[in-house]
C-alpha cells in the first residue's frame, strides 16, 4: 500500500497520467492525417441477376466511378482469378435479398477512398430507389419512397480476405496494445528495481523484514507498483476514449453512415460528401472506430498485463535485490529489456505471418505470450480457431508466474540483506573488478584504485590527502573531533571517486593513530555511519607484513635489505634476507608523534636534533639494534619526497623502484634538516602536509642510516596499499 501511495503521490506519475494520453491522442491524430487515403478513381462491375439496374444508366456525379452492370452472378474466386475481370477495381453485388436485408456487398481489390465510397453509395442507392418504385415493387411515388425508406448498408469486403479472417491493421492494433503492455512492464518493472535497490541501499529493508516475510515484502512491492500501473492505464483508457469520442464528433464524423444524411436534400448530401471527403478518412479510422472491439481488447489487455507484469516482476525484483545501487540495477536490467523487445518482434511476426509455426510456439512461451496473444485477439484469430489454446497459454503464463515468483522470493531473501556483497556475479570476473584501498595514515589518507589483469597490478587511479589525523591528540591517545571531521570529509570525497571509478569494494585500513586512540571504535563507527566505509584497524606487525608484500610486488630484494616506512604515528622496519622477511617491527616513533612532543625552532638547531635522536634512542628496542642490512628500501611517503628533492623531478609514474646515491641522499637530508619553514613552503616538491615535518623525517632517516651502517638506498613507490592489493589477487 505504501508503494502504491508513494507512486500516486509522485509528480512524475501525475504528469504521465495526463501527458501520456495527450501524446497518444496526438499520435493517433497524426497517423490519421498522414495515412493513405486509398484509391479515388474506381472502375466497378455490378452483378444484378434480379434485373434491378440492368438497362438503367448510372448517373455520374462529380465522382470518377464508372459502372458496368451485368445480369449475371459469379463466385468470389472468379472475380479474383478471371483475367477478363482483372480491370475492375470493385465488384458490387446486388441480388434480390437487398429488398429484405438492405445490404449491398462491395468487394474491392485495393482499398478505395471515402469520396469514392460516398459517391458509390449515393449513386447505387438512388438508382435502386428508382428501380424499386418504377418497377412497382412498391406502390408509392419516388418522393414518398425516399421519405419512408430505410437506408441501405454497404458492406465493403476485401476480395483477398472475404471471410475477414485476418487483417493486418487489426493485427497492428493488437501489436499496439502489446507495445503498451511492454511499455508498462518496462516502466513499472524498472520502478520495482529502483524501489528495491533504494530500500536496500538506505537499509530500511531490515526493519521491513523484521515486520513481515521477505516474500510478502517482495510481493507487496510488485503488487503496489502494479496497482499504480493499472491506475495509470485505466486513466489513459478513459482519457484516450474521451479524446477519440471528441475527435469523432468534431473532426471525423461517420460519413459512411447513411443515417447521418437522412435530413439532407440530395444536393446538400453531395455537397457535404464532397466537402468532407477532402478530409483524410481512411481504413485506420474505420479500424479505430468500427473494427476494434474495445470490450474484448481491454479486458484481455488487463488479464495479460497483470499476468505479464507479475511474471516479469519476479525477475525485476530479483535484480533489485541483487543490486547495491540503482545504477547497478540498470545494468542488470539490460538482458530483461532485450527479452521484452524480442517479444515485440515476435508480435510483429504474428501480424505478418499469423499462421507461422514459431508464432504458435511463442504464443505459449510466457516471455512472449502476452504480446502474441494480444495481436491474435486483435486479428480476430480466435473467431476462427479454438480458444482452448488461448486458455492453455494463459494457464502456462499463470503457472510460470507462480513458479518464478516463488524462486525470485528465495533469491530475494538471500540477496536483500547482502549489503555491499553481490551474489557471485554471472557478469563479472573477480580479476576484472576494481578494488579501492584506502590507507588511513596518521598524517595522510591514501587512496588507490586498481585491479589485477593477467597477474599484473594495474593502478588506475591514486591520490592522497593530508588529513593530520594525529594532530593534537596522538600523544594523548585520542583522535580529536576536528580530526574526525577532516577524516570524514576526506573519506566522503574518496567515496565519490570510488563511485566514479565503479569500484566494487573499498578496503580501508587504519594504522597507528587509530589503533592507539581510545576513541577508535567511535571513530570507525562514525566513519561507517557517514560514509558506509568500514575501517579495519590493523596492528603494527600486520602493517609491517603488508608493507613488505607491497614492495615485494615490484622489487625482488637481491641483497640483505631493510624496509623502512616512515609513518606519522609509527615507523615500520622489516629485514629481508633472500627475498623473505626475517624480522619486522613497528615502533611508535612516527614523525607526527615526535613533532607534537617537542617544541622545535625554525630551522632545527643542534639541541632539537639531539632531542629527536635521544627520543629515537629511548624508543627503539634492542631488537632494532640487532637489525642488519646493506640496503635501505624506503617505502613511499617521505621517501618519495626525498627522491624528488635529490633529483629535482617528480617520482616516475608506475610501481618501479628507484635507486639514489647514498652520499647525494645524505646531503639532501642535511639540506632538509637545515631548511626553514619559509623555504619549504615555496618548494613544490614537498607536499603541504610534509612541509612542517620533513626535517623530523630527515633527522630520523639519517639516524637510521648511520646507526645501521646502510650502504645503498632504494626507494619504492609501493607500500601498505599495494600489499593489500597483493592479497586481493
Amino acid at each position: 500500500m505504501r508503494e502504491f501511495a508513494e507512486r500516486l503521490r509522485s509528480t512524475s506519475f501525475l504528469w504521465m497520467l495526463f501527458i501520456g494520453p495527450m501524446v497518444l491522442l496526438m499520435l493517433i491524430f497524426l497517423l490519421l492525417r498522414i495515412s493513405d487515403e486509398g484509391k479515388k478513381s474506381v472502375k466497378a462491375i455490378v452483378t444484378d441477376p434480379a434485373y434491378f439496374l440492368v438497362n438503367r444508366q448510372m448517373i455520374k456525379g462529380e465522382s470518377n466511378i464508372s459502372y458496368d452492370i451485368r445480369d449475371v452472378s459469379f463466385e468470389h474466386t472468379e472475380f479474383l482469378d478471371n483475367p477478363n475481370l482483372a480491370s475492375y477495381d470493385v465488384w458490387i453485388e446486388i441480388n434480390r435479398k437487398v429488398l429484405t436485408n438492405k445490404v449491398v456487398k462491395v468487394f474491392y481489390r485495393e482499398e478505395i477512398g471515402v469520396e469514392a465510397k460516398i459517391a458509390m453509395q449515393l449513386e447505387v442507392e438512388r438508382r435502386l430507389e428508382e428501380a424499386f418504385v418504377e418497377d412497382k415493387y412498391l406502390d408509392v411515388t419516388l418522393e414518398e419512397f425516399r421519405n419512408i425508406k430505410q437506408p441501405l448498408n454497404f458492406d465493403y469486403i476485401d476480395i483477398q480476405d472475404p471471410g475477414k479472417k485476418t487483417s493486418r491493421i487489426e493485427g497492428f492494433v493488437g501489436l499496439g496494445f502489446g507495445a503498451v503492455i511492454v511499455l508498462f512492464i518496462l516502466l513499472f518493472g524498472l520502478a520495482v528495481v529502483r524501489s528495491t535497490a533504494k530500500d536496500k541501499s538506505n537499509r530500511i529493508v531490515e526493519i521491513m523484514l523484521a515486520s513481515t516475510s521477505s516474500r510478502a515484502l517482495m510481493l507487496g512491492k510488485i503488487i503496489g507498483i502494479g496497482f499504480a500501473a493499472l491506475v495509470q492505464f485505466l486513466t489513459w483508457v478513459i482519457l484516450v476514449g474521451v479524446g477519440l469520442y471528441i475527435m469523432r464528433e468534431t473532426l471525423y464524423p461517420d460519413l459512411l453512415d447513411p443515417s447521418n444524411w437522412a435530413q439532407s436534400s440530395e444536393e446538400v448530401k453531395v455537397q457535404l460528401a464532397q466537402q468532407l471527403s477532402n478530409q483524410t478518412q481512411n481504413k485506420l479510422l474505420d479500424v479505430l472506430y468500427n473494427q476494434i472491439d474495445y470490450t474484448i481488447m481491454l479486458s484481455n489487455f488487463v488479464i495479460l498485463f497483470v499476468l505479464g507484469y507479475l511474471f516479469y516482476g519476479a525477475f525485476f525484483s530479483f535484480i533489485g535485490a541483487m543490486s547495491n545501487s540503482e545504477s547497478d540495477g540498470q545494468q542488470f536490467t539490460l538482458p530483461l529489456i532485450g527479452v521484452l523487445l524480442f517479444s515485440l518482434g515476435v508480435g510483429y511476426l504474428t501480424v505478418l505471418k499469423p499462421e507461422n509455426e514459431w508464432v504458435d510456439i511463442f504464443a505459449w512461451v510466457p516471455f512472449t505470450s502476452p504480446v502474441v496473444q494480444l495481436v491474435r485477439i486483435g486479428q480476430g484469430y480466435y473467431e476462427g480457431h479454438s480458444s482452448i489454446s488461448y486458455t492453455i497459454s494463459l494457464l502456462v503464463l499463470l503457472v510460470s508466474t507462480g513458479v518464478f515468483l516463488y524462486l525470485a522470493s528465495k533469491l530475494y531473501q538471500a540477496n536483500i540483506l547482502n549489503f555491499g556483497v553481490r551474489t557471485k556475479s554471472f557478469f563479472t570476473k573477480k580479476d576484472k573488478m576494481h578494488n579501492a584501498v584506502i590507507d588511513l595514515g596518521t598524517n595522510t589518507f591514501n587512496l588507490a584504485i586498481g585491479r589485477w589483469i593477467d597477474n599484473s597490478l594495474s593502478i588506475s587511479y591514486s591520490t592522497k590527502e593530508g588529513v593530520a589525523l594525529g594532530m593534537d591528540g596522538i600523544n594523548d591517545g585520542i583522535i580529536t573531533i576536528e580530526a574526525i571531521q577532516r577524516a570524514i570529509s576526506c573519506l566522503k570525497r574518496f567515496k565519490l571517486l570510488c563511485d566514479k571509478h565503479k569500484v566494487s569494494r573499498i578496503h580501508a585500513i587504519g594504522t597507528s593513530a587509530i589503533r592507539d586512540a581510545r576513541n577508535s571504535e567511535e571513530f570507525c563507527a562514525e566513519i561507517f555511519n557517514q560514509t558506509g566505509i568500514k575501517v579495519e584497524v590493523i596492528d603494527g606487525m600486520r602493517e609491517a607484513e603488508l608493507i613488505f608484500k607491497g614492495i615485494a610486488c615490484t622489487y625482488s630484494f637481491p641483497k640483505l635489505s631493510l624496509i623502512m616506512d616512515i609513518g606519522g604515528g609509527s615507523t615500520e622496519f622489516i629485514q629481508v634476507e633472500g627475498g623473505k622477511s626475517t624480522k619486522s617491527m613497528s615502533l611508535n616513533i612516527g614523525v607526527s608523534r615526535i613533532f607534537q612532543k617537542f617544541q622545535f625552532s625554525d630551522p632545527l638547531n643542534q639541541e632539537d636534533i639531539r632531542k629527536i635522536e635521544d627520543f629515537l634512542e629511548e624508543n627503539c628496542t634492542d631488537s632494532f639494534y640487532s637489525l642488519n642490512a646493506d640496503v635501505l628500501v624506503g617505502a613511499s611517503g617521505s621517501f618519495e619526497t626525498f627522491y624528488e628533492l635529490v633529483n629535482r623531478k617528480k617520482f616516475p609514474d608506475g610501481l618501479k623502484t628507484q635507486e639514489v646515491g647514498l652520499s647525494l641522499f645524505l646531503e639532501e637530508l642535511d639540506n632538509i634538516i637545515a631548511s626553514t619553514q619559509a623555504e619549504r613552503d615555496v618548494n613544490s616538491f614537498i607536499i603541504p602536509i610534509r612541509k612542517k615535518m620533513a626535517p623530523v623525517a630527515a633527522v630520523k632517516t639519517r639516524w637510521v642510516i648511520k646507526k645501521l651502517g646502510i650502504k645503498e638506498i632504494i626507494i619504492s613507490p609501493c607500500s601498505l596499499k599495494e600489499g593489500l592489493f597483493s592479497e586481493l589477487r
Binding site: 530500511i204 526493519i207 513481515t212
Partner: protein, 306 residues
C-alpha cells in the same frame, strides 16, 4: 523470556554461528558482545525471523518464535534506514501499522514519543530534512511505539550525541523496569558496564561465555585497588608496602593523584591503608574491577591462546 537454543547457521562454506545458546530473562538487559563478524547480527536476524537457522530453535515465553510474534518485538537494527521522502509522522504511522497498530493508535503513540524525545515540532517535516541525530531518534521511536515486550537493539547508542545517549539509556532502563526483555548488541563497552545485567560473548561463531556482568568483572579482577590521594608520589612510594606494586598513575592536579596498585602475596587492603595513612592523605580507596573492555579482551586472548 527469550531462549536461544543451539542455533547454528552457515552461509555456504562460511560458518556464521555454531550451536549458540543464550537466555534473556524479563526485566533484564542482556548484552550481546563480540568483535565484527563474530555472528551477532546473524543471531539477531534469526531471532527476528529475518533469516532462518540451519538448526536449533528460538523460544519466546517457552514457545517457538513465529511471524505472528513479530508484533511483540521492537527491533532497532545497526544498519539504520528510513524512507527519506516521507514525513516524520507518516513514517512513524507506517512503521506502527507494520507492527500491527491501528492508524489511530500509531498516530497517538507517535505523538507521545515525539513529545518525549522533544521533536514533536518536526512531525510534519520530511525525513530528508532531519539531522542525523533526529533521524536516529525517529528510528528509535519507530522501533518502540508498538510497546514491544522483547526489545532488540543493535548498536543503539551509535550516532547519538552525549545528551541523547543518556536519553536512550534512560529509556532502555525504563523498559527494564517495565519488565521487558532487552537484548542489546554493542561495541561500546562503556554502555555495557553502565546498563547491561548479563552478557554473552560471541567470538568466531561460538559463544565464549554467558554470565552476569559483575560475575565476569569479579572473575577477572586481579587484586588491584585504586587510590585517590593528596601528597606526592615519593611519599606514596615510601608508604607502599613491598606487598603492593604501582601499576598506573594519573595526575589529577598539582598534588592530587589517582593510582592503581596491585597486591602481592596475601596482604589485605587494611594493611595497605595502615601503611599509607602516615605518608599520604587518602581521599578514596576501592577495589578495582576490570571494566568490560578488559574482560572482553582477556576472554578473547584466553580463547586465542587455546
Amino acid at each position: 523470556m527469550l531462549e536461544v537454543k543451539e542455533i547454528s547457521k552457515s552461509f555456504g562454506k562460511k560458518n556464521a554461528l555454531h550451536a549458540v545458546s543464550i537466555t534473556a530473562q524479563s526485566g533484564q538487559i542482556f548484552g550481546l558482545l563480540g568483535p565484527n563478524g563474530a555472528g551477532k547480527t546473524t543471531l539477531i536476524r534469526i531471532i527476528n525471523t529475518i533469516i532462518r537457522q540451519d538448526s536449533g530453535e528460538v523460544l519466546w515465553n517457552g514457545k517457538p518464535i513465529r511471524l505472528k510474534n513479530l508484533n511483540e518485538i521492537g527491533y532497532l537494527p545497526e544498519e539504520r534506514g528510513l524512507y527519506r521522502s516521507m514525513q516524520v509522522m507518516d513514517h512513524l504511522i507506517f512503521l506502527g501499522r507494520m507492527r500491527g497498530l491501528t492508524k489511530y493508535d500509531a498516530a497517538q503513540q507517535s505523538k507521545k514519543w515525539l513529545e518525549e524525545f522533544e521533536i514533536a515540532h518536526w512531525s510534519k517535516n520530511k525525513i530528508e530534512n532531519l539531522s542525523k541525530g533526529m533521524s536516529q531518534k525517529v528510528q528509535f521511536i519507530g522501533a518502540m511505539l508498538h510497546d514491544p515486550s522483547l526489545v532488540i537493539l543493535d548498536e543503539p547508542l551509535s550516532g547519538f550525541d552525549p545528551l541523547n545517549v543518556q536519553l536512550v539509556i534512560d529509556k532502555i532502563d525504563a523498559f527494564k523496569k517495565e519488565g521487558k526483555t532487552i537484548l542489546l548488541s554493542t561495541h561500546n563497552m562503556r554502555s555495557v558496564d553502565q546498563i547491561c545485567d548479563r552478557i554473552a560473548l560471541i567470538y568466531q561463531s561460538e559463544k565464549l561465555v554467558e554470565d552476569g556482568v559483575w560475575n565476569l568483572r569479579d572473575r577477572f579482577k586481579q587484586d588491584e585497588f585504586t587510590i585517590r590521594f593528596k601528597g606526592n608520589m615519593v611519599a606514596l612510594a615510601n608508604g607502599l608496602w613491598t606487598g603492593f606494586e604501582l601499576i598506573q598513575k594519573e595526575d589529577l592536579d598539582e598534588n592530587r593523584f589517582l593510582v592503581r596498585v596491585r597486591k602481592r602475596g596475601e596482604n589485605s587492603i587494611n594493611e595497605l591503608m595502615t601503611s599509607l595513612m602516615n605518608h599520604i592523605q587518602i581521599e578514596a580507596i576501592e577495589e578495582y574491577f576490570p571494566d568490560m573492555q578488559e574482560v572482553f579482551v582477556q576472554l578473547i586472548e584466553e580463547k586465542d591462546a587455546v
